[in-house]
Each structure stands twice: as structure tokens, then as C-alpha cells.
């Protein structure tokens, strides 16, 4: 299976899904986006926290991230709803640059909520009908950008599921594809492995600098990271320290050379393995991955975590037989036979690779069916 089937977009990328995005520019317009999405089948609402009152780099990051999700190959076209048109047009313009249609509707011009919802619903309806004419066509794995993420980790994550994600990451890169691994705090204690794989000293320095930023921040606010990361559920699952969690966590990125360290929600410029400097929370993290263009995310879990990104289908993978059984309706791929039946790591990797292709081809994940649509755009400062 060295090919998959996707929707070809004007910029040459391929979508694993064919969505119409209803993007709210800030929290003050989320209710409009939700109502539009509820009214039109085939749309997804993208509703951020904050957005209004962000300043400097945070505002730039907010716009880049919302536009990044709208520009994701999984999105056919987008409706942008907003209080005012300036930020909405900035987001829409970035989406249009990828060749997609993006229409803006603002309270400022529509004058009231009902009229804004109505106009946006009319636009979204036309876009969904247009999108329905698209057909999947066969393409190579080099057109797949895969995000790897873990959440609700326990010791089985480092033994079974993260190594299986790493196997898929290596295989995809051998076939010309791209993989993004993030969660900077979980590089802490695993630097010797990562630095040895950086393509240049400059990339290695970026890794060190990214981790140091978090260590300096932890120092500046005077907290013990333990209890926050590892979180209480990780500790209950047997992980005692951030170093132990990190060494299990980075296995999900495989063993290939690290091409570069991207800042939050930025797109990789080439193929291969990239790191993204992003916080570890699943929703915030997958928002950054989907905005960077990942069409699919493999999400490894031990204790279970039901979240899913609305733009990039989020495939839940576990090596914990108890979780696979107790949370069967939140788990997409069960690899626990590695421990219960002593199957090999290669078996788990091949099994997961085959499933990855199925999900890229359109098989729905549990979180898609259950309509999980949470996003959270990362920021480093405060709103003013």
C-alpha cells in the first residue's frame, strides 16, 4: 500500500477529507459559526477561545493558525464569520492564496446575528454542494503530512503505541512523506536522542532553545513540573517523571533525521521529519498540527483521551488492553496484542500503517463520528 486516495486541491495538495470550514475569527463570533455549522451538513465549526485583544506575535499566531486550518488540504472551501471585517479578511485572504474559496460575513455589515447566520448558511450550502462534486483520486504517500501526538499516556505508550507510531513515521518518510512531532516539554530528558538526529547544528540549537524556554518559564513561576506534566493520569499510569514520559513520548517520531524545528502552526517547507515547538495539551497541540497542514493525526494513548481535531482526523491508538476494552468506542486501533499475545513491534507497526492508509482514504475515526470539534489556539502572552 504505497498509495492512498485523496481530493486534489488547486495548490497540488491532497485532502483526506472534503470539508467546508466555518471559521469564527474570535470567541465573540463562535455562536454564529456553531449555528451555521448546525444548519449545514458537511461543514465543521472552527471556534477558538480568545482571538479578540491578542497582541503582537500572539495575534499573528492566531491569524496564522485559523487561516492554517482553513488552508488545510482536508478543507474544500471556507466561510469566515466575524464581528468585524479586517481580521476576517486577513484570514480569508490567506486561505484564498491556496486556491480555495473563502467568503466573509461580519456582524459589522450584516448588523445582527440572525442576518449574519442566514447569509453564511446560504454561502456554506453552495460550498457543500460544490464540494460534493469532488472525487478521490489515487496519489503517492509523499502527499501525506502526518501528525504524531500522544495523550493520556501511561507506560504502555512507551512500550507499544508510541513505537508503532514511530514505525509508521519512518515508513512514511521512506515513501517520501512528511511527519510532524511536537510537544516540546516532552523532549525534556530526551535531548541526546533528538540532537543526534538533527540535520545541522543550527537545528540542534533550535531544539535546545525550545526546551530551555519551557524550563526557564517553569523556573520563573517557581513550580514543580511534576503533577502537571506528567499529569495526574500519567502518574497513575506508572510514569514518575517528565524524563521518563519524554523518553517514551519521542518514540512516536521514529528514528529519521530531524529536518527543522517549526514554530506553532507553521508549515514544513520540505519532506521528512519535522519537530514543532508546541505545548502538550491534546486540543492545543492538534490545532497546531492541523494548521501546519497535517491531513491525519496518529494519537497514541494509554489511559485514554477522547478528543479529536475537527480538520485532521485523529486516530486513537492504544497498547493498553484494559483501555482498548473499557474505552472501545473511543479507540480506533488496538495494538495491545503486543503485550497480551507477545506479537512483535513490527507486527504493530505494519498493522498501524495499514490502518493509517484506511483512515487517509476516508474511514471515519471515533472522534469524527462522535463529532468532536474542539480547537485551542496557543499563545504565550495575555490579551489586553
Amino acid at each position: 500500500m504505497n498509495t492512498w486516495k485523496g481530493y486534489k486541491r488547486a495548490d497540488g495538495a491532497y485532502g483526506a477529507r472534503n470539508l467546508v470550514a466555518v471559521i469564527s475569527t474570535a470567541d465573540n463570533s463562535n455562536f454564529i459559526a456553531r449555528r451555521v455549522s448546525q444548519a449545514v451538513k458537511g461543514t465543521i465549526p472552527l471556534c477558538p477561545c480568545f482571538g479578540r485583544g491578542e497582541i503582537g506575535e500572539d495575534m499573528e499566531q492566531h491569524i496564522r493558525t485559523m487561516a492554517g486550518m482553513g488552508s488545510n488540504p482536508n478543507v474544500h472551501s471556507a466561510v469566515v464569520v466575524s464581528l468585524e471585517p479586517v481580521i476576517a479578511e486577513k484570514i480569508a485572504e490567506k486561505i484564498r492564496q491556496t486556491g480555495k474559496e473563502a467568503a466573509v460575513f461580519c456582524i459589522d455589515e450584516c448588523k445582527d446575528t440572525i442576518r449574519c447566520v442566514e447569509q453564511a448558511v446560504r454561502a456554506a450550502e453552495k460550498m457543500v454542494i460544490q464540494a460534493s462534486m469532488e472525487e478521490r483520486i489515487e496519489t503517492s504517500m509523499e502527499h501525506l503530512v502526518l501528525g504524531v501526538e500522544c495523550g493520556g499516556s501511561d507506560t504502555t505508550s512507551g512500550i507499544v503505541s508510541n513505537p508503532a507510531l514511530g514505525y509508521v513515521a519512518d515508513k512514511l518518510i521512506d515513501l517520501g512523506g512528511t511527519v510532524i512531532m511536537s510537544e516540546t516539554t516532552e523532549w525534556m530528558g530526551a535531548e541526546s536522542n533528538l540532537l543526534g538526529r538533527a540535520v545541522s547544528e543550527a537545528v540542534g540549537e533550535k531544539i535546545v532553545k525550545a526546551v530551555r524556554w519551557y524550563e526557564d518559564y517553569i523556573q520563573s513561576i517557581g513550580v514543580d513540573l511534576n503533577g502537571f506534566n506528567p499529569a495526574p493520569d500519567n502518574i497513575k499510569g506508572g510514569l514518575s517523571t517528565i524524563e521518563e514520559k519524554a523518553l517514551g513520548s519521542i518514540k512516536k517520531g521514529g528514528s529519521k533525521a530531524i529536518e527543522d524545528v517549526l514554530s506553532y502552526s507553521r508549515r514544513p517547507k520540505g519532506k521528512g521529519l519535522y519537530l514543532m515547538d508546541a505545548p502538550t495539551g491534546g486540543v492545543e497541540n492538534t490545532t497546531g498540527l492541523s494548521a501546519a497542514g497535517c491531513q491525519l493525526i496518529l494519537f497514541s494513548t494509554g489511559k485514554g483521551n477522547p478528543m479529536g481535531n475537527p480538520v485532521a482526523p485523529t486516530v486513537k491508538v492504544t497498547g493498553n488492553a484494559r483501555t482498548a476494552s473499557a474505552s472501545a468506542y473511543n479507540i480506533d486501533v488496538d495494538l495491545s496484542a503486543v503485550l497480551t499475545e507477545e506479537r512483535t513491534a513490527d507486527w504493530a507497526g505494519e498493522e498501524l500503517y495499514a490502518k493509517t492508509v484506511q483512515y487517509a482514504n476516508g474511514k471515519m475515526t471515533s472522534s469524527e463520528v462522535l463529532d468532536e470539534v474542539e480547537i485551542a489556539v496557543s499563545r504565550r502572552g495575555f490579551t489586553v
Binding site: D154, T155, T156, G158, I159, M188, G189, A190, S192, E215, I218, Q219, S220, I221, G222, V223, D224, L225, N226, N229, I235, G237, G238, S240, T241, I242, E243, E244, L247, G248, G302, N320, R322, L339, T340, E341, E342
Partner: protein, 90 residues
């Protein structure tokens, strides 16, 4: 079914894959290791005696520091080890 996993030769802990009872015997590459207390599923067992301040190795890498002396066969977790990194409160 695997009941215990050790990753690298250098490791001084292993992971148990059952809810271990006191005096439960595990076989690790021909060697026997006996738990001296209950150890929950997925948690670590000490493969040798360790002293306060010693480094705990898992995956062949340092993952923690002992905050008290640890007997062979003990449960190794947040009650007797701590992180080396991320200690902003000190």
C-alpha cells in the same frame, strides 16, 4: 502474556504488566525478581538495591533520582523518586 518488561541492559528498573502482589515472582531473561510489595499494572519494580541520590535508568537513560533508599523488588514511583529536570520550585 508478557508480565514484565526491561528495556536496556543498563536499566535498574523494569515495568510490571500485571497488578503485582507482594512476593510475586517475575522471570526476566532467566533471572528471578520478586516483588516485596504490591505494584500496580504498568508501574516500575527495582531490579537492584538503590541508595538515596542514585540515578534510576529506564530505556538506558536517566529518568529519575532516588529520594530515599530503595530495596530490590520495591515499587519505584513518585513516593521514592523525583525528576532531575523541571524543578522550578527549588
Amino acid at each position: 502474556m508478557k508480565t514484565i518488561v526491561k528495556f536496556e541492559e543498563k536499566d535498574n528498573v523494569a515495568v510490571v504488566l500485571v497488578d503485582s502482589k507482594e512476593n510475586q515472582e517475575f522471570c526476566l531473561g532467566g533471572e528471578k525478581i520478586v516483588s516485596i510489595e504490591k505494584i500496580p499494572y504498568g508501574h516500575k519494580i527495582a531490579l537492584q538495591e538503590m541508595k538515596k541520590g542514585d540515578t534510576v535508568y529506564k530505556y538506558g537513560e536517566p529518568v529519575a533520582r532516588c529520594t530515599s533508599d530503595i530495596e530490590k523488588g520495591s515499587w519505584v514511583h513518585v513516593h521514592n523518586v523525583e525528576s532531575i529536570r523541571g524543578l522550578g520550585h527549588r
